[in-house]
Symmetry: C2
Subunit: 378 residues, 2 copies
């Protein structure tokens, strides 16, 4: 193996595959990055067995030479050292050569590194995925759908299935649902699909977070292929594999109330900032809980009380308060997370009494819904 | 106590005094910020007993009203909560009022905080410092002198005196010296002083770091007052007190070689970056040590070898290599720290053999000197 490559492109690809490499793996070779040079270009692979990322550097792109393959071959290099080294090389051009005994020579300017590599044959094979069940989502929509749901997954391993986001494809619509059993985030969108199959899979929240970081903000289509235990996201020169979570995702549809008793419409930012301020004193006390009350004349009050430190209250003028009077307590963090996930300047909140879950959504958009369980304090 | 104040100015002053507030103090009231309102303005104080910072907000500055004192008085508020609250207040104007029992009411827009305060009489008094022994240093020079020396203080409490920087004032010259006994940084400058007294004090490195962060990048003069056990820095509307370290600072003058056997002149950035690259592989092995060798034709080589991972070597074309051939090993970190502290594109290194300390300095500036002890490996 011998090739000459543009340093910045190599650095970029190494950083992409590094997102899958963990230093805490039970399989030592997975602390490495696999490099395979063929006449088409250079392929880098990183994996922690849950997530695998493959980044491809073609020999040429838009008429510019990116990598000149002088001899094909493959090797695995320690990810941590290799990634730090390529970032700090002195020149724009790097030469990488495989010598005997998996020794790799990296040259740039007058610097020469000799790194001990491993046999690429020892590196685990990526899942083989047949591309029958494929659908396409624009990158920016995909990232938005992840952002608006993934924060609500459970961080506890008590019910492992809840650490993932449920992706359901039915009737040409993709529905993403996450819940940690105290709150739920749901986002749906119409998407392009070639067949009318129905799926329901659960993708680990961690995988979706890493995927989101690695994808550029474009509207290029990402191909998504779902199999029994893997999902594959295919973007330009990039493959992102994640295992799926085993088990049945709970049916969340009956959690979502269809009626309400008190409804408010309020400016998103004012509501969010008032809760943020009230939560400053609530952090010390029980679980970051703030109180919400309807007042007269379309006013609401957000308050919190922490006997040792002090108390805070703030009134907000809403657009509208309709229905019954209400006093309710909730986790400031959960409501703030939900409000940050929503777009638009105004939101509506639909309450069904102080002990029942309430719904936050945009006034002008029914593709996203945030549900939160109150905290019993009154 | 009652006053109305511009939020941004209050936030700025609170952040200044917060630099002295520690959450790990044995004196509970020092977790608070003292506020004193007089007809002249508002004074905030934070202290961890080693460092004390006083920030003054005048009623008016450049014709703009900053704080309107409606009633004078004083109180101590929990620093952590108070600083978070003022940052997040909804309006540009804040009203702060002391009610009974040290309860403080903070109002901004429709938000109202009630915070439990403490009696300001319980707060320790700041040191009383007579201003006899004063000298003046421009802020930017002061920050530079700190930056170029403070990194070399010892982080170990084995010899507490070495955790500080020795400041000596003699013959109208200020000399700052720091050493952790493996390396030494020295910077001197001519300064304005009203009398011809000579001082030698040791200022804790931590104090100088905090001072540097709090001072703006101006060339306004800072008044420096030295007493037996305190130093006071006076900038505009700001007092910064630090205790001094007890004990005699070692005489470092005889450490600095006056002759040399091998001298090089080299581009600072090329030398720094080559050492940085070589250190990538040296981190794992013994103490981050890299090797330096003179070659022929004005070339030098930086190398490092870590049997498990690999090796690296790099040649650099110097401006000049003069004197004996040399192979020497040193801590990459110490040399990189020293190089970063130097200004200018070229530096000279003067060696006196592989077992003797060497000196790095600018080719065109003798006010700064960095000395480093080699590591015995050859």
């Amino acid at each position: 193996m011998k090739f000459i490559i543009q340093r910045d492109r190599l650095v970029h690809s190494v950083q992409e595959v590094m997102k899958a490499v963990s230093s805490r793996t039970t399989i030592p070779i997975l602390t490495g990055i696999k490099m395979v040079a063929t006449e088409d270009g250079l392929t880098l692979t990183g994996s922690d067995s849950d997530i695998s990322i493959e980044s491809f550097l073609p020999t040429e792109e838009d008429g510019t030479e990116i990598v000149e393959i002088q001899q094909s071959g493959s090797v695995v290099l320690q990810a941590r050292f290799f990634s730090e080294i390529v970032k700090k090389l002195p020149r724009d051009i790097v030469e990488i050569e495989l010598a005997t005994n998996h020794l790799v020579i990296i040259r740039s300017g007058k610097a020469e590194f000799n790194l001990n590599g491993l046999d690429a044959e020892e590196y685990p094979h990526l899942p083989q995925i047949s591309e029958e069940n494929m659908f396409k989502v624009p990158t920016d929509l995909l990232k938005t759908m992840v952002r608006q749901t993934v924060f609500a997954v459970s961080t506890s391993e008590t019910r492992p299935i809840l650490t993932g986001v449920n992706w359901r494809l039915e009737n040409g619509e993709l529905i993403c649902i996450a819940t940690d059993s105290h709150r739920l985030a749901l986002r749906k969108a119409k998407i392009d699909t070639e067949n009318q199959e129905t799926y329901s899979v659960v993708i680990p929240g961690k995988s979706l977070n890493e995927l989101s970081k690695i994808l550029d903000d474009t509207n290029d289509l990402v191909d998504i292929v779902i199999t029994e235990n893997q999902v594959l996201f295919k973007a330009k020169n990039l493959l992102f594999f994640s295992r799926l979570l085993d088990g049945n995702y709970p049916d969340t549809s009956r959690l979502i109330p269809t009626e309400s008793k008190t409804d408010i419409i309020v400016n998103t930012k004012e509501f969010l900032q008032a809760i943020d301020r009230a939560s400053l004193l609530a952090k010390e006390a029980r679980n970051n809980v703030v109180k919400f009350s309807t007042l007269t004349d379309g006013m609401i009050e957000i308050s919190s009380n922490s006997p040792e430190i002090g108390k805070v209250s703030e009134e907000i003028q809403t657009e509208e308060v309709r229905g019954e009077e209400l006093k309710i307590s909730f986790s400031a963090k959960y409501v703030m997370d939900a409000l940050k996930a929503l777009e638009g300047t105004e939101i509506q909140v639909n309450f069904t009494g102080a002990m029942r879950p309430f719904i936050i959504r945009n006034t002008s958009d029914d593709t996203i819904l945030q549900l939160i369980l109150p905290v019993r304090t009154y």
